[in-house]
């Protein structure tokens, strides 16, 4: 069965920590981090490898801070 594997890369300089992506992520891959960026916002980090590359986060992200990859893996 083909399985989907995804990954998100967050641009920490652009992220403003609005957490809209955390709210819409179906796999709870994104969570608020503990560090602040140069603008003083607590940016979002990736906390697990369950990402399916659904692009919900990148669609809702107001600052286009998220790059998404998706690959089909045949098992």
């Amino acid at each position: 069965m083909a399985k989907v594997k995804g990954d998100v890369i967050i641009d920490i300089d652009v992220c403003k920590g609005c957490l809209l992506c955390v709210d819409v992520c179906p796999t709870k891959t994104l969570a608020p981090g503990t560090k602040v960026n140069q603008k003083g916002y607590i940016y979002v980090v990736k906390v697990n490898d369950d990402c399916t590359g659904c692009t919900n986060c990148s669609t809702i992200c107001p600052d286009a801070a998220i790059t998404v990859y998706r690959e089909k893996i045949n098992k």
């Binding site: 990954d7 652009v14 609005c18 809209l20 692009t55 992200c61 107001p62 893996i73």
Partner: protein, 257 residues
């Protein structure tokens, strides 16, 4: 983590190239930035970066030209649609849009907006409605809801004293000059995709020279509503959407396409 995942062929989303790679000044979670982003995605997908001319308003999005890598012109407060009219008439082969907030379009610019739509100028008007004056600190706007608190209506908007919230989109939909009038929002991924499709359609109609396209985007204002971005989107669903109901108000009939 496997190594083939980050190949270019597996890339499903990246920042649109028309959106200049700087941190925008908007507050976290603001609908303005989402709308900028999808506008840039549409420009990238239609490959019209060199053909588009935008008109920036006065309001939160006053420096939109610092973020969109296209030709842009700043207009006086409320006059963006009038300036866009001029640009479109001089350069009819270009795709012209104005990007305006509710204080700009529905208050000081009501006359310009209505007459632009009434003349059926072949432009796209993007109207961001967050029911408040965001840039100046959260004063009541014409679109502020009944009983909604703002800095100038601390006890809620009293419609007997301050009038009723104005539905600009419903107003312009009644005018014969408009071709495509819709109200969308950007509070969920599905709605963002719908708004993007609407903007794309509007640019395509503009190429066909059919009349004014008017897209209202119901947006949040977390800072002036004094909520977190996630809460502000919930408030938007509970309070804004029952009054400003989403959907197409005027769509071209099938024969016309």
């Amino acid at each position: 983590m496997n190594d083939t995942l980050h190949l270019a062929e597996n890339l499903v989303y990246k920042r649109p190239k028309t959106l200049i790679n700087v941190a925008m000044h908007y507050c976290p979670g603001c609908g303005h930035s989402t709308t900028h982003k999808i506008l840039c995605e549409v420009i990238d997908e239609l490959n019209i970066q060199s053909e588009v001319i935008g008109v920036a308003p006065v309001g939160c999005s006053v420096i939109a030209y610092d973020y969109l890598n296209i030709d842009m012109q700043e207009a006086a407060h409320g006059r963006a649609s009038a300036v866009a009219t001029g640009i479109k008439r001089v350069l009819p082969e270009k795709l012209v849009f104005s990007y305006q907030g509710d204080g700009d379009l529905a208050a000081i610019g009501t006359a310009e907006t209505l007459h632009t739509c009434n003349r059926g100028e072949n432009i796209l008007i993007i109207f961001i409605n967050n029911a408040i004056y965001g840039m100046t600190g959260g004063q009541m706007a014409p679109t502020t809801l009944e009983n909604m608190k703002s800095t100038t209506t601390p006890f809620g908007r009293n419609v007997r004293k301050m009038g009723y919230p104005i539905k600009m989109t419903d107003l312009v939909a009644t005018l014969p000059g408009t071709y495509y009038v819709t109200r969308q929002s950007v509070h969920t991924p599905a709605n963002v995709r719908k708004t993007k499709a609407a903007i794309k359609k509007a640019f395509e109609y503009q190429r066909l020279d059919r009349g004014t396209c008017f897209i209202e985007v119901v947006s949040n204002c977390p800072s002036n509503w004094k909520m977190t971005p996630v809460d502000s989107n919930k408030w938007l669903v509970e309070n804004m959407l029952p009054f400003y109901s989403l959907g197409d108000l005027k769509v071209p009939s099938k024969e016309e396409n």
